[in-house]
């Protein structure tokens, strides 16, 4: 990996005088350690990899995480700027190349996901800023022959008494200093940037159409390819005829790749017409029999049996025997596509000893490794350029590097630089879906309505099974992501006799993490069931939850704040009803109150009040935006989202049959943040899980009907 580091360094040095603060390179042993994924070297970070200061005073922050809407383009620079003492307006931002220096501080690979970007960089990016500040101060102090402790950094300058020099003026000298072995970070009470609502640094470019996404990448001689992929999971090309495709004006080549047949052309439209003209005979294989109706019946039968034990306590059957009453219900959620607004795509240019990739990716390290294998190159010969991601939600992080791997195959076979473009239909039918889940809950309550026995059986396909992550993520037959949010649920844990069981049936369908992963289905089931228990006990759903959560202050904090801001229990406009739900995920607690009306079979969500406790909040504006977005994302799933298979084929293809929430349906969303000095949690995902049950609970309040299957249908 030293070659990649070397490349970085050359790039830095080439960009002219005074440009970098030349931090010493991390020792190679540390890089190797990072590369083996065991543990990323903890502080001090290799600040050179994260920060450049130009003679023109520009401060460039390199992101170890991909900007996909969640706001790291702003949040990570805030962490640097707070410690560095630069002028916020001089900040520029770039995605980092793929290299071990940018490995996730917890996961040992360069990746974006799990709502981890901000908290996992909280120390590293602040340290980078502090190290640079100390070196700039040291350079100034040496020049002025004063004690460094008499200097301080302020708005892009080092100041000492009446003396003042800009960071740009000091950069060249600072580059020669030895970085400090340790730095002191600011006390949060002295923060001037962190914790303050800060507008996005990428907003202007994005509003003006200047932001470059993967699909926008242009290179000299770049061709466009569309791939005809298997119509059912596991199908293989038996034979194909390309004559008609090749006859289309602009088509340059038709090549077979492992995923199908690629039509390579001068432009998108030629590639599309060429692909339409392909004649392919497929060997469909067993995937042809796939049917979601059949799968649901199988899942339902499985839910009647115990499954692998994910959590258990007490004596379940004794608990049920002692119960005054037992409630039982099944909750179901369907397969879903992520449906990022930017369809999947990847650009690859192969040349002697080099593979350049442009991909909006959440998984640089994986992409680099898999591309190197396909191209027959060393890891450091694969360069990954990350443009903006037009939405991610987990879809741009496949354990197989699905999109990148295919594009490398196409470029190799075509012998030319190629951009593989997925149409919307390709994207929707390309697999890697949020799995379908069916859960059976059986809860026994005592005479006061409190649970004494809680049995939850989860049925659905494992995301981790068969992947590189399986050894870490699957323990004793339990994929932790299948039961996340249930295994540690305060309701389950608070019930003396409980058992959480898991069935992980295998199907040919490729499945993947989808914004907030297992928490969507577990929160839907638990928060619906708790509402059912409250109503069965004749208690207010808010009061009932307060009692069950009395020993969980952070749950109570968001629950009470959301209820208060929503005016829970107070009169509502005619025809409006409220439902409440809360869930902890990714280290953050979120409660939501949904205000709905029902007219005939039409459900309308008017207003959502959200309370979030994400610990120390780095950018309240960003957290609010993520809650708003998470709620709309969850509402699309609650009201519209469903993928179905019949005879092996996905029945949906585009936004007409896989609808998204639109402006006229979108509720107003109010976000309230609980002040906290606890460790930061995530923001990108935790807004999603509570919304479906909050709406289900509001629908029950409005109609007396309990909807236990997503998407909601009253008719």
């Amino acid at each position: 990996m030293s070659a990649v580091r070397g490349l970085d360094r050359r790039k830095f040095l080439k960009t002219s005088a005074g440009l970098v603060i030349g931090f010493t390179m991390a020792p190679r042993s540390a890089l190797l350690r990072a590369q083996t994924a065991a543990g990323v070297p903890k502080p001090p970070p290799d600040a050179n990899a994260f920060l450049r200061i130009g003679a023109d005073d520009r401060v460039t922050v390199l992101l170890a995480h991909s900007e996909m809407g969640q706001g790291v383009w702003t949040t990570l620079p805030m962490l640097v700027a707070e410690e560095l003492g630069c002028d916020w307006s001089t900040i520029r931002v770039e995605h980092a190349p793929a290299a071990p220096a940018y490995f996730h501080t917890s996961y040992g690979m360069q990746m974006t996901g799990g709502s981890t970007s901000t908290w996992s960089e909280y120390d590293r990016y602040r340290q980078v800023g502090a190290i640079a500040r100390e070196m700039l101060i040291a350079a100034a102090a040496a020049q002025w022959k004063v004690d460094p402790s008499s200097c301080h950094a302020e708005k892009g300058h080092v100041v000492c008494g009446g003396r003042k020099a800009s960071f740009g003026q000091l950069a060249a000298a600072a580059q020669k200093r030895t970085p400090p072995a340790a730095v002191r970070l600011k006390d949060p009470k002295d923060w001037t940037i962190l914790g303050k609502p800060t507008r996005r640094l990428d907003a202007a470019d994005k509003a003006a159409g200047r932001a470059e996404f993967g699909l926008d990448v242009q290179l000299p001689g770049l061709l466009t390819a569309l791939v005809a992929r298997a119509p059912v999971f596991g199908a293989r090309v038996k034979s194909f005829r390309a004559d008609k495709a090749k006859a289309v004006d602009g088509v340059r080549a038709v090549v077979q790749v492992p995923s199908g047949v690629a039509v390579v052309a001068d432009r998108f439209y030629s590639a599309k017409l060429g692909r339409d003209a392909l004649e392919i005979e497929w060997d469909l294989g067993p995937g042809r029999d796939l049917s979601t109706d059949k799968m649901r019946a199988e899942y339902r039968a499985l839910a009647q049996t115990p499954g692998a034990q994910a959590a258990a306590a007490g004596d379940l059957e004794a608990g049920f025997r002692s119960a005054a009453r037992t409630l039982e219900a099944e909750y179901e959620v369907p397969f879903l596509a992520h449906a990022t607004m930017e369809p999947q795509n990847c650009t690859v240019r192969l040349s002697e000893g080099k593979c350049e990739i442009w991909a909006g990716t959440q998984f640089q390290t994986m992409d680099q490794k898999i591309a190197a294998e396909i191209a027959g190159l060393k890891l450091e010969q694969v360069e990954i350029h990350t443009p903006f991601l037009g939405g991610g939600f987990g879809r741009r992080a496949t354990p197989t590097s699905q999109v990148v791997a295919e594009a490398v195959h196409v470029a190799k076979a075509a012998g030319a630089p190629v951009k593989v473009v997925w149409t919307r239909e390709d994207d929707m039918r390309g697999g890697y879906y949020r799995p379908m889940w069916l859960q059976r809950l059986r809860v026994g309550v005592d005479a006061e309505g409190s649970p004494v026995a809680w049995q939850q059986t989860v049925v659905g396909q494992s995301i981790m099974e068969g992947t590189f992550f399986a050894p870490m993520m699957i323990k004793d037959g339990v994929d932790g992501t299948s039961v996340e949010g249930a295994a540690d649920s305060p309701y389950l844990k608070g019930t003396p006799n409980h058992r959480l069981g898991l069935h992980s049936p295998k199907t040919p369908i490729t499945v993947l993490w989808w914004r907030s992963v297992g928490n969507v289905h577990t929160a839907f089931a638990a928060e619906s069931m708790v509402d059912e228990l409250a109503h069965a006990a004749g208690q207010d759903p808010l009061d009932y939850r307060r009692r069950m959560l009395k020993d969980h202050p952070r749950h109570l904090g968001v629950l009470n704040l959301a209820a208060e801001k929503a005016g829970w229990g107070r009169p509502l406009p005619a025809g409006r009803f409220q439902g409440i739900a809360l869930h902890e995920s990714f280290g953050s607690w979120v409660a939501e109150v949904a205000e709905v009306s029902v007219a005939g079979d039409r459900i309308r969500v008017h207003r959502v009040i959200c309370a979030v406790d994400c610990g120390i909040c780095i950018n309240p504006a960003g957290v609010a935006a993520q809650m708003e977005g998470g709620i709309i994302y969850g509402l699309t799933a609650a009201l519209h989202g469903e993928l179905t298979f019949r005879d092996g084929r996905l029945e949906q293809s585009n936004f007409h049959d896989y609808p998204m929430m639109r402006m006229r349906e979108a509720p107003s969303v109010e976000v309230h943040i609980v002040p906290s000095t606890e460790k930061s949690g995530g923001a990108g995902e935790p807004g999603v899980p509570p919304i479906a049950p909050a709406v289900a609970n509001a629908i029950f309040a409005a109609t007396g009907k309990r909807l236990r299957r997503l998407p909601f249908q009253l008719a």
Partner: protein, 157 residues
């Protein structure tokens, strides 16, 4: 040969007449601010103005707009409607940002037709544009902000 008038500039192009305008803008003219999202006029990411009206360029054959005045997001910045982009920044609208050029173009077309749109006007004009990141309420706020006369706008920001 097809003659196109894009952002005030004349282009003579040798392309198939049924090629969607979107791909001519993106591939022949390098105007990549106009986005591909669905190819079926279902998401609005490809919205441009043709003779001042919002149009989905992904389903508009290039021959159908020959000689007409086409404005893309890149051309919006040169005119009075750049106020819309400013409102987008002030309301911190974008997240992933992919749909936003289309949203801005749809909003600009709305504001041309209705300088002070109501929420109902916004629902009607903007519901053809999908934002998967869920920025709708900020888009609504940004449209109202852009609709406010310039002197008030300065006071507000």
């Amino acid at each position: 040969m097809i003659e196109l008038l894009v952002n005030g500039k004349r282009h003579v192009l040798n392309v198939r007449p049924d090629t969607p305008l979107l791909w001519v803008l993106r591939e022949d003219l390098g105007l990549t601010g106009t986005k591909y999202g669905c190819g079926m006029a279902l998401c609005g990411a490809c919205t441009v103005h043709v003779d001042g009206q919002a149009r989905r360029s992904c389903v508009a054959p290039v021959s159908s707009v020959a000689g007409k005045a086409i404005t893309t997001i890149e051309g919006l910045a040169d005119g009075p409607w750049r106020v819309v982009e400013g409102a987008w920044v002030a309301e911190d609208v974008p997240q992933c940002g992919y749909c936003q050029p289309g949203q801005v173009m749809a909003a600009a077309a709305l504001l041309k037709a209705r300088p002070r749109p109501t929420d109902e006007d916004i629902d009607a004009a903007m519901s053809g544009n999908i934002c998967r990141c869920g920025t709708y309420q900020r888009i609504r706020a940004a449209i109202h902000r852009a609709a406010v006369p310039a002197e008030k706008n300065e006071k507000r920001s």
